[in-house]
Symmetry: C2
Subunit: 217 residues, 2 copies
């Protein structure tokens, strides 16, 4: 990257960070926890959110912000569960920014929400740079993607509060080393909590749900 | 995106396109075919290249350009096969550009190469915008990612000459509709060739290898 590119990027990220802090304060003032879910395309973000909705919909008031390049497939699935979902289409961009989230929050009834899942665009690179105002960052890595992804795409894993290893139900068919993974990640991010789960079968979801409840307190 | 962002983006893409044409001409003048492989992280780009190396290494002189955000894991694997591999680390960027490829080509002995695989950064968004000078664009979509990805990330699929559906060996464990996929893709890209393959088991690789040989002619 040229020096000029770096300067432009720093200015953009600085302005974004300010707006992200405004979003975070707005949410905190309304006693809302917002969780930012990031992963590659197809790691299972929507399925994971659907599981949490089924578990918590009678206990907490949940809403979802759906980031996508195109389409509203995921938001439609969420609304089908009678949970409010705001769709953001980023078009040619590869990431969401704090201003897009602000607009989404402005369209929601924040006095009637306890928990917002922010489903980020499927991307391990661009999404990592943009603070959106969430309180917690959760990265999903699915077993079929392989256990070398944190070494190849380190930035998104650096700031993760939780790393969910999804699709553990198919681990017999892939080479993902679940036992060695915590040690592999410890040099990059020693404080991340790691939960192996399957959004499909429900395996391992209890620890993840307990973490959400503890964080909501 | 603001109008200013769009203008900056158009200028960047225009300058990149010019350099991409220079790369393509350089390769064509040396009778080299360059294939640009794009996918999400973990779809199997490296495994696919390893299969092609094993099949063709006694027949064609192969080289690989490896794009990554960080690390040289993949280039190391390739070099272990006694095939020249140039590693490009994009750092904070989410894509490669034509100038990076030009530098890689300048470091290679182009008179001794027939076929270059360009393994792009694992990303379905940014990579789609940047012409790198390859002759053919190949997109990998793996079965665990789900068959809805072309609707969610359409741009990268629009310009694909070939779409490889990888990891078909695990299709019994996922909901990917292989039979319906060609019709799903036809409205987006009617001319793309679609090859279901497994880089792991070798299933379906013959059609993909035949396509490479036909294209090399």
């Amino acid at each position: 990257m040229s020096a000029r590119t770096i300067t432009v990027k720093e200015n953009i990220l600085g302005a974004n960070k300010e707006k992200a802090e405004i979003n975070r304060k707005l949410l905190t003032d309304h006693h809302i926890l917002m969780i930012n879910l990031m992963s590659s395309p197809g790691s299972g973000k929507t399925s994971l959110i659907m599981r949490a909705i089924n578990r918590f919909k009678d206990k907490y008031r949940i809403a979802v912000i759906e980031g996508d390049i195109a389409s509203s497939i995921d938001a439609d699935k969420i609304r089908h569960q009678n949970v409010p979902a705001v769709q953001i289409n980023a078009g040619g961009g590869c990431h969401l920014d704090a201003m897009m989230i602000k607009k989404a929050l402005d369209s929601m009834d924040l006095d009637r929400i306890d928990l917002i899942f922010l489903e980020n665009i499927g991307n391990l690179v661009c999404t990592a740079d943009f603070d959106l105002g969430a309180h917690k960052n959760v990265v999903l890595l699915s077993v079929p993607e392989g256990d070398d992804k944190p070494r190849k795409y380190p930035v998104v894993f650096l700031d993760a509060d939780v790393i969910l290893i999804n699709k553990v139900d198919v681990s017999p068919y892939f080479d993902f080393n679940l036992d060695a993974f915590p040690e592999m990640i410890s040099s990059l991010n020693p404080s991340a909590e790691i939960f192996p789960v399957s959004a499909k079968t429900g395996e391992g979801m209890d620890r993840w749900f307990s973490w959400i409840e503890e964080t909501l307190k």
